[in-house]
Amino acid sequence: MTAPLLSVRDLRTWFHTPSGVARAVDGVSFDVMPHETVGVVGESGCGKSVTSLSILRLIDRPGVIEPGSRIEFEGRDLMTLPEREMRAIRGNRISMIFQEPMTSLNPVFTVGDQVAEVARVHSSASKREAWERAVEMLSTVGMPAAAERAKEYPHQLSGGLRQRVMIAMALMMGPALLIADEPTTALDVTIQAQILELLAEMQERIGMSILLITHDLGVIAESATRVLVMYAGQVVEEAPVSRLFAAPHHPYTEGLLAAMPRVGAERERLAVIPGSVPPPTHWPSGCRFHDRCPFAWERCAAEPPPLYQIGEKHVSRCHLADEPERRAKPHEPLAATRA
């Protein structure tokens, strides 16, 4: 068995705000193997993005990665690395792309200049060499007429092309891990497919791993091999992608899958999960999903569930694993009765 490329253990990123401690990420553990695509899904506010920013140590005050959290990458402990060395990893060994390709690019520089800048930060390339490599990279990520378009400014490009520029910047140095935080959310559906295809192609070429963060299960189904489902700052279920879609265990995962629109399902109203994610300063006691869960019983409010092993490579943070007979008796969740 090969060693994982990235190994996160008990990651806790808390925000110490005047209105209390927001435990945005609260004990997250997972591995990313070489060449693998791991999907992370969950609603807004479940801690997906904070997890990815924590890996790069880009959390600003009042956010703190709590002591005891461990992040290992290529055998190095990222938590204790000096800032200088951390900077040499960002954009070089671990890269990141974001949801909004317009606001992620600097409006006052040409896109070629911005791609070239990455090479200049991480290597001793001259201005000219960096520019040439930037043009080459832009053409690799499918920018038509790259040599000319490199001289254009972000506002002159379409959303899809801007995301290609971001990808070119992120992949310039051939990273081992790409963190893609909602890379297709701001794009049209047709462009989404192209961008996902491009990411898969680049993964093949560079041999990198991808941590794909999204709230869109369709994107996960298309690209990921393994899925982490996050809720309220924790991983609630982890499984290979086919297994998760075929046999979800956690009621939250079931809810997410049921809420997915399907072609063919005629005029049925979309299922929703009642209530919304609770504020991170006040996670519910016991299981954090218990007030929205159709199966919750007394134990759920009292005892936080551990990650139960459900099957091979399949874990779920739900007491149903312990008492499966409870699944037969769904009821109105607390959140629904409260609303």
Binding site: L58, G91, S95, V108, V118, Q156
Partner: protein, 316 residues
């Protein structure tokens, strides 16, 4: 008129026209493929009133730069304080002469030199200091920011004009360089606040997070992502600030504590004529008009730049 002075006037006119036409054409040529600065110039170019003001400022700057070659007389020579004093405007003296028989027109040209260069240098100083201070406060945030901004609050609680009068009176006869420094160092508080607010907003932008995620250093982020994006509000504030400094300098010189005679500034020229303003009106009128026109022009340009550099404001 000597032929060399005619040549100087022709040169001055040609340079003014050439510079203005060049700016206009650079703006007119800027298409969608131009950089953000050129596009701003293009928007500015559509603002007719601002373009007129720009012509005026360019012309005033040219006159100031070429004053020694343009002026028909020496600004300080007093050829005959009995026969030639307080002459009304005539062919020999376009704007008459003052109580010391000095040619008002020549003094006005030299005065442009003094008043405009003091304003320009003082503003360069305030804009630089204000931008660096504001950028540092905004970028580092937290306690650093809190302390730095309380200092600004304290500085702003003292009226600038009062502070200046106190300083200059205590100083006695200030050299022009010191006047520039004093004007510059009392004028940057507003700019620093502006820049700080802008930086606070900018550093939360995805583009800064993205740059950090790609390994950029603090220095790269400040130089590439923060400063270029705060240039526009600073340029606008500086342009409006020039107008303000011209007025303040004129006021101080009028009071006799700014630019000291015999060196002419528009402010102390008004003072020269104020005691006989009913009869010898030309001594104060022309420098007064020069101040009004220049200050208005800078204010109009500032407003035009604001619209050109931040087209979002037009939507509101």
């Amino acid at each position: 008129m000597s032929s060399s002075r005619v040549a100087a006037w022709v040169l001055c006119t040609v340079l003014t026209v050439a510079l203005c036409r060049w700016l206009e054409r650079a703006g007119a040529r800027a298409g969608d493929d131009a950089g953000p600065w050129r596009r701003a110039l293009a928007r500015f170019h559509h603002d007719r009133v601002a373009m007129v003001a720009l012509w005026l400022v360019v012309a005033a700057s040219m006159v100031a730069a070429l004053a020694p070659w343009l002026a028909p007389y020496s600004p300080t020579a007093t050829p005959d304080i009995v026969e030639l004093k307080n002459l009304p405007p005539s062919f020999a003296h376009f704007m008459g002469t003052d109580f010391a028989s000095r040619d008002v027109f020549s003094r006005l040209l030299y005065g442009a030199r003094v008043s405009l260069s003091i304003a320009l240098l003082a503003i360069l100083l305030s804009a630089t200091v204000g931008t660096l201070y504001g950028a540092a406060a905004g970028y580092y945030g937290g306690r650093v920011d809190a302390v730095m901004m309380r200092i600004i609050d304290a500085a702003l609680s003292v009226p600038r004009i009062l502070l200046l009068i106190t300083l200059l009176v205590l100083w006695g006869a200030v050299p022009v360089a010191a006047l520039i420094v004093v004007l510059g160092f009392t004028g940057w508080f507003g700019v620093s606040r502006l820049v700080r607010a802008e930086v606070l907003a900018l550093k939360e932008r995805d583009m800064v997070v993205a740059a950090r995620a790609l390994g950029a250093r603090d220095r790269d982020i400040i130089l590439r992502h923060i400063l270029p994006n705060v240039v526009s509000p600073v340029v606008v504030a500086a342009t409006l600030g020039i107008a303000n400094v011209i007025v303040i300098e004129a006021g101080l010189s009028y009071l006799g504590i700014g630019v000291r005679p015999p060196l002419p500034s528009w402010g102390n020229m008004i003072q020269d004529g104020v005691s006989q303003i009913a009869t010898v009106w030309w001594v104060s009128l022309f420098p007064g008009l020069a101040i009004v026109a220049t200050v208005m022009a800078f204010n109009i340009i500032g407003d035009g730049l604001r619209d050109a550099l931040d087209p979002r404001q037009l939507d509101g």
